[in-house]
């Protein structure tokens, strides 16, 4: 299966290419007043309004800041994904297109099923599905469906940190 590899701070992450609709440059975020910080805002994707999640904050790290290198992964919605998977498959990702803001795009890798390894206990995270060691590099494969279905609560009374539901 093909994976698109991207960088968040100094770590490499991958998501299955089939789940991605497109990757766009950072243009402009329109803030949603009242949304938690992990929502960077909305972007105008050729007439479609797409919310963008800050990958850094989702993965408990530092915030990814917009730069020339930063990119937004636009994930397919359920319909688009199932169309791509073809008949007989039924997979859930998210009912809307959602963007994930990352530091930079690296490359596309072919990873065989047997190369996927369990996530070591010490770095276990609800959004990690597997790890891969390839070309001396350590790549974490993410579960997009988990990230895109976060239970986002509007900010209320000092509550700055979002709570993710596992």
């Amino acid at each position: 299966m093909l994976y698109s590899i991207f960088r968040i701070h100094n770590n490499l992450f991958g998501v299955p290419i089939i789940s991605i609709l497109e990757i766009v440059r950072y243009s402009r975020f329109y803030p949603v007043m009242g949304s938690p910080e992990i929502i960077d805002g909305l972007i105008n994707l050729r007439g479609k309004v797409v919310p963008v999640i800050n990958s850094g904050l989702v993965l408990d790290g530092e915030k990814v800041t917009p730069s020339d290198d930063s990119r937004i992964y636009i994930f397919k919605n359920n319909l688009e994904l199932n169309d791509a998977l073809g008949d007989g498959f039924n997979s859930e990702i998210s009912s809307d297109n959602i963007g994930l803001h990352v530091d930079s795009v690296c490359n596309v890798l072919h990873v065989d099923k047997q190369e996927l390894q369990q996530v070591p206990e010490n770095i276990s995270h609800p959004f990690y599905s597997y790890v891969v060691r390839k070309n001396e590099e350590f790549i974490i494969i993410l579960k997009p469906s988990q990230i895109l279905n976060l239970d986002i609560k509007p900010t209320q009374n000092h509550e700055l940190k979002f709570r993710y539901q596992i």
């Binding site: 329109y30 007043m33 009242g34 309004v49 007989g88 998210s94 297109n97």
Partner: protein
């Protein structure tokens, strides 16, 4: 998977055919015609054929029995009788249920329905004395044969029966040993032949014209893209606005506009289907409630956005049910009232000035306003005071309040207490309004006005904290700008900001408060200074609740397409969605209902709170004086004075050498007139002006016959402020009082007294020619002790007897003790406890006090306040600091008597 999809689509089409069937039955009920029978026949035929193809045996069986009956009626073998209708409806309902059932009716017991139907045929044929046995066998054969033909002909992918098949089938019939049946089957066969190729076209056909079915998602996407094209076009036009030859561009721009219009139209569909289904509803209801009711439908062709049509179905059902169960009386009581025993309900739709009006009217008993308000009182929706005062129309409108139902007996039809409030909220969600009219004994009428399209909404684009937001005009009531010097300001009650909007208190919210980010960052807490600026807010409506949302500025008005919130942001209920604006920016769309719910706003709480506060104020009168424009000037370096700007005519600068001495008095020539100069040190204990000053200012007044100029050494400012006057330290009647302006002690002059002092003969003698009689009693109402005393002094100086009160409530108490005592009431407008407007309202509605003229007295001299006061019911109006007009006003009323 494909099969399943096809079946699903097929079932959808079959439901439409069943609807045709229902409609046909209703028509049949009114009058028999061959056309209707043909229609019914076609519908059952299609159902039978299709279900046979998909192997839905039970449905095929039933529709066949139905078709058989139709065919026989059509061919005149069976005479149609109105008692058949009931059976037909039963069959129709069964078909409907079977189509909806998960097993497509395989588990249904339809034998009795089928046997009932065939019994109808038999009975009828018996009458026509045709051999029973013969027909029975014929029936059986026909069923078998036709089934064969169908299966032969309907081949997936090709509807046209092949000639061979035709021939073969024909031959089959030729060989059949049937004589009586032959002609009939030939007929039947012809019917099959002509019908089958037509079917695919007929499916999905609406009113006239050729149509095809298109997926809604496709239309939505088309719509989005068109929106984006429009935006790009606008950008292009801006980019090439300088270029000389842009004819191609403008042609394209025009075409894009047309395209957008057409795409919008694709979402429109006639409301007909939704309206006509009520025929059945009314028919059933009529049976259930045992009242004869007829429904008349008009305007089925009226087009609306499909989203709106879908959403309308439930509220309309509810209202029609209401008409049938509450509105229409039973036949007996209708007869005694001289009405047609059959009740009527009219349901109509029509285009009306860019909107669609849907009317639901009945000729029933109407809404009993008293019952409604009684119920509202019992539920605590209105107070007993409101109960007395509420107008009939307002009372009827209470039916839109939650939990209110006037049905005495709660039935399964209505009276469950959920109802018109839900109807109203649905209508409002669609951007519409609903109104009600009712005449007791004649009927009631509901009108729903709706925008024709849901997706495009005219909205106001505003800025809040740098971000842009859109608010649909349908939810926006008004925009209010509160200036620093306005009469009514945003006040604070229990840490919540409120605004008095035409008598009711509305909460004022900041977006930061709504979104909950207000307290997030301690640096963002608004400091007190910020509240001392001009503020603008939107007044939004959510049902009966009104509230304000503070904005920074207004951008413009735009037609926007509202896109639903992505699910990930669903918890942000204060947004209705987002939208892409003309310049391709994204703006959040505010939702009045959402904000109201998320903030749990309840204006009633606030108002009752206000009442508590009011009673507190009775003990401690809070200074709520009006503001006034003042001209501030100095006499010498030390002494500052102020006069009401409304009394100032002109300010001119003169050189000291222009001052002339005439008969020991100083005067100056301005515009050809000799103006007597007034040096304030002559009237007040002030140090005289030093001679070395080269120029002075001369202030002339608007007071008639007081052609003097007041000398000022410098003009400081013209300000608008609350006048907090203290009594002057030294009694002197040309000083109204002292106050602090611009960090200085300032004396506010009473120009009329000054005029009297300067030329006593002219004023006293001419002006106050009215000699008040002993009985002339005045009631003066003012909350500020200083002004109250001043006014009292004015009137007493010309001979009136004056009683004083400090607010409207106190005044009412005094008046009610002895209404005949007073000839005239002079009242301030802005007062605590009960203001002037409220007072005048009560006085004009109290018979004993109706005859007493009341004059408004305020410090505002502007025309607007004048009109407002007269409109509120005041008989006259005078400016507080203007003694002359006060006395004139008083004079005119006493003389008129």
């Amino acid at each position: 998977m494909n099969d399943l999809k096809a079946l699903k689509q097929f079932l959808g089409e079959m439901s439409e055919r069943v609807e045709d069937l229902e409609e046909g039955l209703r028509e049949l009920e009114i009058a028999y015609s061959l056309d209707v029978i043909n229609k019914l026949f076609r519908a059952t035929h299609t159902i039978k054929g299709g279900c046979g193809f998909f192997g839905l045996t039970k449905i095929t069986q039933l529709s066949h029995a139905l078709e058989d009956l139709m065919m026989k009626i059509r061919d005149g073998e069976v005479t149609f009788q109105s008692n058949m209708i009931e059976n037909l409806y039963v069959a129709c309902d069964a078909l409907k249920d079977m189509l909806d059932a998960p097993d497509h009716g395989d588990s249904f017991d339809i034998a009795f329905i089928c046997s009932d139907l065939s019994k109808l045929i038999k009975d009828s044929i018996n009458i026509q004395s045709v051999g029973e046995a013969e027909i029975a066998s014929l029936n059986e054969n026909t069923i078998q044969d036709i089934k064969e033909i169908k299966t032969n002909e309907i081949i997936p992918g090709g509807y046209e029966p092949s000639p061979e098949n035709n021939q073969e089938a024909k031959n089959n019939y030729k060989n059949a040993d049937l004589t009586v049946g032959e002609m009939q089957i030939e007929d039947k066969f012809k019917e099959e032949k002509t019908r089958v190729p037509v079917e695919p076209e007929e499916i999905g056909q609406t009113l006239g014209g050729e149509t095809i079915k298109v997926k809604v998602e496709l239309l939505d996407r088309l719509m989005e893209l068109t929106g984006e094209i429009v935006i790009s076009r606008n950008q292009l036009l801006r980019q090439f606005s300088e270029s000389v030859n842009k004819s191609t561009l403008s042609t394209m721009a025009q075409m894009i506009s047309d395209l957008q219009q057409l795409v919008l139209e694709t979402r429109m569909q006639p409301i007909g289907g939704t309206l006509t289904k009520f025929n059945r509803v009314v028919r059933d209801l009529s049976k259930q409630v045992n009242k004869p009711i007829r429904l008349k439908i008009k305007g089925e062709e009226t087009e609306l956005d499909r989203g709106i049509i879908e959403a309308l179905s439930d509220p309309l059902t509810h209202m029609i049910r209401n008409c049938a169960s509450h509105g229409i009386e039973d036949a007996k009581s209708r007869m005694t009232q001289g009405k047609d025993p059959t009740g009527s309900i009219w349901l109509s739709a029509k285009n009306e000035g860019g909107q669609v009006a849907i009317t639901i009217e009945d000729d029933g008993a109407g809404i009993d306003a008293f019952k409604v308000k009684n119920k509202a009182l019992n539920l605590g929706l209105i107070s007993s005071k409101e109960f007395e005062e509420i107008s009939e129309l307002d009372a009827i409108n209470l039916i839109f309040s939650p939990g209110l139902s006037t049905a005495e007996v709660v039935s399964d039809l209505s009276g469950r207490g959920v109802g018109m409030d839900v109807v109203r909220s649905i209508v409002e969600k669609l951007g519409g309004v609903i109104s009600v009219e009712s005449n007791k004994g004649i009927g009631s009428k509901f009108v729903i006005y709706l925008p024709t399209t849901l997706t495009i909404m005219s909205s106001l684009i505003v800025r809040i904290d740098g971000d842009r937001f859109a608010i649909p005009h349908s939810e926006l009531k008004e925009v209010i700008l509160v200036r620093l010097d306005d009469e009514i300001q945003i006040e604070k009650i229990m840490d919540r900001e409120v605004f008095r909007l035409r008598g009711s208190l509305i909460p004022i919210l900041e977006m930061r408060e709504i979104t909950g980010i207000r307290n997030l960052d301690p640096n963002k807490i608004i400091n007190e200074d910020e509240t001392r600026r001009e503020r603008m807010f939107l007044v939004l409506n959510s049902g009966a609740t009104q509230f304000g949302v503070v904005i920074d500025s207004i951008d413009h008005t735009e037609e926007i397409v509202i896109k639903p919130l992505p699910i990930i942001l669903n918890n942000h209920s204060y947004y209705a969605g987002s939208s892409i604006l003309g310049d391709s920016d994204v703006a959040m769309v505010l939702s009045a209902n959402g904000i109201c719910q998320s903030q749990k706003l309840n204006t009633q709480d606030l108002n009752s709170h206000h009442t508590i506060r009011k009673s507190m104020m009775e003990h401690q009168i809070i200074d709520m004086q009006e503001k006034q424009d003042l001209l501030v000037f100095r006499f010498g370096d030390e002494h500052q004075f102020a006069v009401p700007l409304s009394l100032i005519n002109k300010i001119e600068r003169i050189e000291s050498n222009q001052i002339e001495n005439i008969a020991y008095k100083k005067s100056v020539n301005l515009d050809g007139k000799n103006i007597l100069l007034v040096f304030l040190d002559e009237f007040l204990e002030l140090p005289p002006l030093l001679d070395k000053q080269n120029s002075y200012f001369v202030i002339t007044t608007k007071i008639e016959r007081f052609e003097v100029g007041i000398i000022a050494s410098s003009i400081e400012a013209s300000i608008n402020t609350k006048l907090n006057l203290d009594a002057p330290p030294i009694y002197n009647n040309i000083v109204l009082g002292i106050t602090r302006l611009h960090e200085r002690i300032t004396m506010v002059l009473d120009l009329f007294s000054l005029a009297e002092k300067v030329s006593p003969e002219r004023f006293k003698a001419k002006d106050y020619s009215v000699v008040p009689l002993e009985k002339d009693q005045l009631l003066v109402i003012d909350d500020t002790p200083f002004f109250r005393d001043l006014e009292k002094k004015y009137f007493e100086s010309v001979g009136f007897h004056v009683t004083v009160a400090s607010n409207g409530k106190e005044a009412l108490e005094i008046l009610m003790q002895k209404p005949s005592k007073f000839n005239l009431v002079i009242s301030d407008i802005v007062m605590p406890v009960m203001d002037g407007y409220e007072l005048v309202n009560i006085m004009k509605n109290t018979p004993e006090l109706l005859g007493i003229p009341i004059i408004a007295l305020t410090s505002f001299a502007e025309e607007g306040h004048h009109k407002k006061a007269l409109a509120a019911g005041f008989d006259g109006y005078a400016v507080k600091t203007n003694k002359e007009t006060i006395l004139q006003a008083v004079n005119s009323f006493l003389v008129a008597e």
